[in-house]
């Protein structure tokens, strides 16, 4: 019986070609093997429904496929699902094992062996292990596992050639004791040992593919495997000594709040200097002003005007103020792309050095009061780059509840880099006190919105459970490759959204709807926010591009207080059209509509509240900024308290 499954990944691989799959725990140096084994031409395919990119390339006649780093095969997260499907369909698996973490890594090795796929183990980083006083008898390891084991130091190129020459001598290893009998029965039903194993271990996805119920033996199989791995480790590993290194000490300092917060502040400050100043001003100056607006736009307009009049409706859609071929590429490629690359570069740097899990540990406490956990720090940092990108990245979060909270907070309170540049410029003109007020107000909104959502949304968010890898100096080639792959992934996913956004905005403009919306907003703008009528235009422009909104304020003559009220409203106000698109793509229509309208309402409430408070706390022309700030914080705390109390009441009513 033939078993064909749609594993999601579409690779055109001829029948007679061997699929050699690279597998391993995170941070074991798999990518160095991948680069060594494959020739120049590497394909990257996106795995549907995820942000994950799978690279594959050719080695002589065979295909090498990379997989995401995982600790085991199952359906706990996207990485695992993908790694699982690729590994169980492999002809040969090259399993890269970190010699320093043998006990942890061999669990995956043993699990892969249990799937019945031929395996070669590359015992990597043996030099680092030696330095840490660990000696591993790799020949004994090989005979215990029943597969070839090659010691390597991949980054120095040691052992790579031997690995390559050994790949075709891969063997099916010795499976976990006691597993054989339970597997044999299942293999007849599902066709392959790999799928049988996963069904036995209770993998719901694999079981449902065969229309059978998942097994209930995960605990038993896992415990047996763990026992086996511990025995193997005890037999082959000899610890000579164990000493605390500088990296260990630094790693500790990074997670203790007293030292960790200043270290994080320093890291973020460096990031701001690099991205906020160098990329946002110097690089974007070239890419947006010189290249896109100076060279590209006139060229494309010239080209289009040969066929279509630019004033015609079609001309407007293609190359008008908000055209698909003018505004969309300029915004995406000229402005956002350099910033996105910058953010992904830092993220890769943090990730490869082992700092990222430590930031997650440090921030877990704060984030868990907002109904998130430390992992959410990744989309939160990325949000300052581009909210659209960060919204996509929320897929890494552990539950739907967390995604909902994170997406709302991103859309509401995190100003993206495009907007941040203009905001910083405008704040420079209002003085330090009002700048602090702006920051405090936005931060209060973040805390209040998160805490309130955490209190009212049903269910429970997941807890942090991560591995703390050793701190390492990141390899630049690796960091650059990651940055490239992720930035390209973003571009591919975001480009259609920006194009669609441009179409919608032009549609609103040529039909005159944009003006209608501006007029509708005018009473709120004047009456509630105390701003001139024209500010409504800036708000609507903020939907087109977040920086347009903020930039629109520069041309108005506003008092300092008015500027800050407008900035607060615009920051909290709807995200740009592309992030609205991604919101509707990632969430259900109903939920997206609720999130969108809620952030609108909250933005105006917050902006108006500050305007009111400014009226209350002013004597003559002097506004007591300090009092306004404190009052706003107190109101936020009040809102949190009211929600919590009414929730308790609600619960006790239900109980009665």
């Amino acid at each position: 019986m033939a078993h064909c499954h749609d594993t999601g990944l579409k690779l055109a691989i001829p029948e007679n070609v061997k699929k050699i799959v690279l597998a391993g725990n995170p941070n074991t140096g798999k990518s160095v093997f991948f680069n060594y084994l494959t020739d120049l031409y590497v394909d990257v395919s996106n795995y549907p429904g995820t942000t994950l990119e799978i690279s594959h390339g050719k080695m002589d006649e065979d295909v090498i496929i990379d997989t995401p780093g995982v600790y085991g095969l199952s359906s706990f997260n996207d990485e695992e699902k993908i790694a699982r499907d690729i590994i169980i369909n492999a002809d040969i698996v090259l399993n890269v094992v970190d010699a320093v973490h043998l006990e942890r890594d061999l669990f995956l090795t043993q699990q892969i062996i249990d799937t019945g796929v031929p395996v070669v183990v590359a015992l990597n980083m043996v030099d680092e292990a030696k330095r840490q006083g660990i000696e591993i008898d790799y020949q004994a390891l090989s005979s215990l596992l029943g597969v070839p084991v090659i010691p390597t130091v991949a980054i120095k190129g040691q052992g790579l050639e031997k690995v390559k020459n050994t790949l075709h001598s891969a063997t099916k290893g010795r499976i976990t004791p006691g597993l054989k009998k339970s597997l044999t029965d299942l293999i007849n039903r599902v066709g392959s040992q790999g799928e049988a194993l996963l069904v036995l271990e209770g993998d719901e996805v694999v079981a449902s593919r065969h229309g059978i119920l998942p097994g209930k033996e995960r605990d038993k199989v896992y415990m047996e495997r763990r026992k086996r791995v511990n025995e193997i480790t005890a037999e082959v590993l000899k610890e000579v000594r164990q000493g605390a290194s500088f990296a260990t000490t630094l790693g500790r300092l990074m997670i203790k709040p007293v030292t960790g917060i200043p270290i994080l502040a320093l890291a973020l400050w460096l990031m701001y200097k690099a991205i906020g100043v160098f990329v946002a001003q110097d690089i974007v100056g070239i890419t947006e002003e010189t290249i896109m607006i100076g060279m590209y736009e006139p060229a494309i307009k010239g080209l289009i005007s040969k066929y279509v009049t630019l004033d015609s409706i079609l001309g407007q859609f293609l190359a008008g103020e908000f055209g698909i071929l003018t505004m969309a590429p300029t915004y995406l490629l000229g402005l956002l792309m350099p910033l996105v690359v910058g953010f992904y570069f830092f993220l890769a740097l943090f990730e490869d050095s082992g700092y990222l899990p430590r930031i997650a540990t440090l921030t877990d406490r704060v984030l868990s009061s907002l109904g998130l956990n430390g992992r959410a720090v990744i989309p939160m940092i990325l949000g300052f780059g581009c909210v659209t990108m960060a919204t996509i990245v929320t897929r890494i979060l552990g539950s739907d509840r967390e995604r909902r909270i994170a997406i709302f907070l991103l859309g509401l309170t995190i100003p993206c880099s495009a907007q941040l540049g203009v905001i910083v410029g405008l704040l420079a003109g209002v003085g330090i006190k009002l700048t602090i007020m702006y920051i405090v107000v936005i931060f209060s909104m973040l805390v209040a919105a998160g805490t309130i959502l955490n209190a009212i949304l049903p269910g429970k968010s997941t807890d942090l459970l991560i591995d703390l890898p050793p701190l390492r100096i990141p390899r630049l080639a690796n960091v650059l490759k990651k940055t490239g792959v992720k930035s390209y992934g973003f571009l591919k996913e975001a480009a259609p959204l920006f194009a669609l956004g441009a179409i919608i905005i032009t549609g609103l403009q040529v039909t005159g709807t944009l003006e209608v919306i501006q007029n509708l907003l005018a009473p709120i703008t004047v009456g509630w926010l105390g701003l001139p009528k024209e500010a409504a235009t800036a708000f609507v422009m903020g939907i087109v591009r977040r920086d347009f909104g903020a930039a629109g304020l520069t041309s108005l003559s506003l008092t300092s207080m008015q500027t800050v009220v407008a900035l607060i409203t615009i920051t909290l106000f709807v995200p740009c059209i592309a992030s609205i698109m991604v919101l509707f793509k990632e969430r259900s229509k109903k939920e997206a509509a609720i999130i969108w309208s809620a952030s609108l309402v909250v933005a105006f409430i917050a902006g108006g509240t500050v305007a009111r408070l400014a009226n209350i706390f002013s004597t003559g022309n002097e506004v007591n900024i300090f009092a306004v700030t404190i009052a706003f914080v107190l109101l936020s705390i009040g809102a949190i308290a009211v929600t919590k109390i009414s929730r308790k009441k609600l619960f006790s009513t239900f109980r009665v």
């Binding site: 085991g72 973490h101 709040p257 877990d364 430390g374 459970l465 591995d467 050793p470």
Partner: protein, 72 residues
């Protein structure tokens, strides 16, 4: 006692981990029920870092509250 109540530097044995997925993930990390580990670091009101051999794991406070351990 619960993992949450450990003090820094204490060695303990894991008695039970109630959540299925957390238990599976912990076994992969090498922290099966019955294994011995050390409490390495406690972030005030935040996560707890435990260590077994060279493996360090961070557990959120909520998890630490649910995991049953005994001192050794």
């Amino acid at each position: 006692m619960k993992l949450e109540n450990l003090r820094r530097g204490q060695s303990f044995r894991i008695i039970s981990i109630p959540d299925d997925i957390v238990r599976a993930q912990a076994i992969r990390f090498g922290l099966a029920e019955g294994e011995i580990a050390v409490c390495e670091e406690i972030i005030p009101a935040g996560p707890i870092v435990i260590k077994k051999n060279r493996q360090e794991i961070v557990l959120g406070r909520g998890l630490a509250k649910s995991i049953q351990v005994e001192l050794i």
